[in-house]
């Protein structure tokens, strides 16, 4: 919880413009892992007729998560003061 409280009125760093800087390669990226499999069935090409006919079990892992999310809806909103919101 304790952050840097050093009072440093001057910062001797190089003047660089971020817009000119190349993105650095992530040091921790495992480039052998090309993608992450989720537990959400891809329904973008599924018709409503087929959606109705699917076995419930296939949706269960993602549905449990979604219902938990829905029960605790995430609202990114302030609590009554200006400029201090998540």
């Amino acid at each position: 919880m304790v952050g840097d409280l050093d009072y440093r009125p001057e910062f001797p760093v190089d003047r660089r413009r971020i817009v000119d800087r190349p993105r650095e390669r992530k040091p921790n990226v495992d480039h052998s892992a090309e993608d992450v499999r989720t537990n959400l069935v891809d329904l973008t090409e599924t018709s409503f007729e087929d959606l109705r006919g699917y076995d419930d079990a296939i949706f269960e892992p993602s549905l449990i998560r979604f219902l938990r999310q829905v029960e605790r809806p995430r609202a990114n909103v302030g609590s009554g003061q200006p400029d201090r919101i998540d």
Partner: protein
């Protein structure tokens, strides 16, 4: 359209490169489309769950068409134009409605009968059928004379209160609604208004070959983040101001951060104007995890304010979309109570995560704006950049130290840290850095005063030791004990920092006439002006006097700590554990003339108090 449902299912996959892009603040349009595809599947899973639950409730839809009819109509519209149906289903308010309807199924009680909630789906299907030129006869809910057709607009039946059901027929795009003797014909161009129709307005802004197309949603009941709200039709003049601001904000984004504009172009769908809140001094905004692509924003004073709000909310939107696909942290435990530098209250890890991501976007926006501007605008952008950068630094450290991050979450946070390292290497003026440090340290000190308290036994022991001239006791534990939520805190000094930079003439007036300030801004003091004006020694005297007059004035305690540091006489205890000094001071004040707070802080610090919290 799809394979046999008894066959193997395909699951969404998220390329690592997409996660890295997102943690770097961006997200190629292809990545945003991947998030949108996940959102679509999520809505289908929830819609299927909802319809199955409704089929087990004989009167779920009241007088509206049955569940079987809903499945049949969805399939019919889909056969005619799957993309049109998908566009309506992905309209942001549909996500908010769907979440609310599912909560209803799960047992949440509402004042209105269930069909009034579930029946929004009939309106969704009608709107899609009208747009796809599919013939459909159905009925939809009407509330207080307003029948919503999502993505199209609102039919208005004069003289009706409460809930009712309108019959609706659409043929080849010609749509008619009937309620009793009244008839509303949806205009051929539904974006326009007639005597009984409000079209859903859309604003299209193009700059440097990039286009932002957003609905300016002032009518849909589910445009809010939570409960349904009535329409709040904007006056034409206000619409014009919004349109101008959107064009201006888009020009800024395209000019200063073109890659981000590409990303936003692919994912931002609607802006809901929020009413101006007289309790707030600045623009405010919001978004919902259930409404991918939607931002709720109060009317901006200028296009830069809107650009910042759009970046802020789009960061939330992207992270919300990713979180629907994969967990970045343990979602079952919400017990964390963490310091977020932009909030007065303790936040759970999920909130801190969202806040860090949003404020990283804000920091980069201002960084780029500082690089693209000069003179006055540059000075403002530098301060805002330095401030947001400092805020994210502390919050990122807290986030990175959490044991509740998943492996994917840790990778994402590492990406954020790399992003921040880049921002950290950008130099700003000493004045901007000093103001940013002051504002950030000040906020944290007040947060601690508001939310932490030392153990009472330690307070009593410290007070006794002071009275009898003994050494201060070693520290005890700090306990989390937030003040009541209705004890609002106006962060006046943050406002003053901004005023000094944005409106120097006004600030100079307040320096010359502090009484003018205290008349205009509640809770402001002459010491606040002195601190922000760069006269910390004067501020120290002012805060000591304020504390003597009102020992419970948290802002004065924090101001004292910050002023001493700014004057080159830091008392770190007043910044790190101001709540401890405050508690002992007040205990002593109960029975005797309280001591000088600086002397008390020095004495307590002599125990070499370890930071426990």
């Amino acid at each position: 359209m799809s394979a046999d449902p008894s066959g193997p299912a395909t699951f969404h996959r998220v390329p690592v490169s997409c996660i890295d892009e997102l943690s770097d603040g961006l997200g190629e349009p292809e990545t945003i489309r991947l998030l949108l595809a996940g959102e679509y599947s999520r809505r289908m899973v929830l819609l299927r769950y909802l319809l199955k639950a409704c089929s087990a409730r004989p009167r779920a839809f009241g007088e509206l068409p049955s569940v079987d009819a809903v499945w049949r109509d969805l399939a019919a519209v889909e056969r005619a134009s799957a993309s049109t149906l998908a566009e309506v289903l992905m309209y942001p308010p549909v996500g908010v409605w769907l979440a609310g309807a599912v909560r209803h199924v799960l047992g949440e009680r509402t004042a209105d009968p269930p069909w009034t909630t579930f029946g929004y789906l009939h309106a969704v299907i009608l709107a899609a059928a009208a747009r796809a030129h599919v013939a459909l006869r159905t009925s939809i809910p009407v509330h207080d004379g307003v029948a919503i057709l999502p993505t199209l607009g609102a039919a208005r039946f004069a003289g009706h209160c409460g809930w009712a059901v309108a019959d609706a027929v659409t043929t080849l795009g010609h749509t008619v609604l009937r309620l009793g003797d009244a008839t509303v014909v949806v205009p051929v161009d539904p974006t326009g208004d007639t005597a009984d129709w409000w079209g859903l307005r859309q604003v299209t802004a193009t700059s440097e070959g990039r286009t932002l197309r957003v609905w300016l949603d002032d009518i849909d009941p589910y445009r809010n983040v939570a409960d349904p709200v009535p329409p709040a039709r904007l006056d034409p003049g206000v619409v014009e101001a919004w349109t101008e601001a959107i064009h201006g904000a888009w020009r800024q984004l395209c000019g200063q951060w073109p890659e981000y504009a590409d990303s936003m172009s692919a994912g931002m769908r609607s802006i809901t104007p929020l009413p101006v809140d007289p309790e707030r001094d600045a623009a405010h905004s919001a978004s919902s995890g259930d409404a991918f692509g939607a931002a709720l924003i109060s009317q901006p004073a200028h296009s830069t304010a809107l650009a910042v709000a759009l970046v802020h909310e789009f960061q939330h939107i992207k992270l919300g979309g990713l979180l629907h696909l994969a967990a970045l942290h343990d979602e079952t435990d919400v017990s964390d109570q963490l310091y977020a530098p932009w909030r007065d209250d303790p936040r759970p890890l999920s909130g801190l995560f969202q806040g860090v991501y949003a404020f990283m976007g804000i920091a980069e926006f201002w960084c780029r704006r500082a690089a693209a501007t000069s003179a006055h605008h540059h000075v403002i952008a530098e301060f805002e950049f330095a401030y947001a950068r400092r805020q994210t630094g502390e919050a990122l450290r807290t986030l990175a130290s959490s044991p509740r991050l998943t492996a994917l979450g840790r990778r994402f946070v590492d990406g954020l840290r790399a992003w921040r390292r880049r921002l950290r290497s950008v130099e700003v003026s000493a004045d901007a850095e000093r103001a940013a440090w002051t504002a950030a340290a000040d906020h944290r000190a007040v947060w601690r005063l508001r939310n932490l308290r030392p153990e009472q036994g330690w307070v009593a022991a410290a007070a006794d030791a002071w009275r009898f001239g003994g050494p201060p006791p070693s520290t005890g534990r700090d306990l989390l004990d937030p003040v009541s939520a209705d004890q609002l805190w106006r962060y006046v000094r943050e406002l003053l920092h901004r005023t000094r930079i944005i409106a120097p003439a006004r600030f100079a007036r307040w320096v010359a006439e502090p009484d003018d300030l205290t008349r205009r801004i509640r809770d402001a003091s002459a010491a606040d002006v002195a601190l922000v004006d760069g006269r910390p020694a004067e501020a120290v005297i002012g805060y000591v006097n304020e504390i003597a007059r009102s020992p419970g004035n948290f802002a004065a305690w924090a101001g004292l700590g910050v002023s001493l540091a700014a004057a080159g006489r830091p008392r770190w205890l007043l910044l790190r554990r101001p709540h401890a000094v405050h508690a002992v001071y007040r205990r002593l004040a109960e029975t005797e003339k309280p001591p000088d707070p600086v002397r008390l802080a020095d004495w307590l610090a002599s125990a070499d108090i370890a930071i426990v919290h």
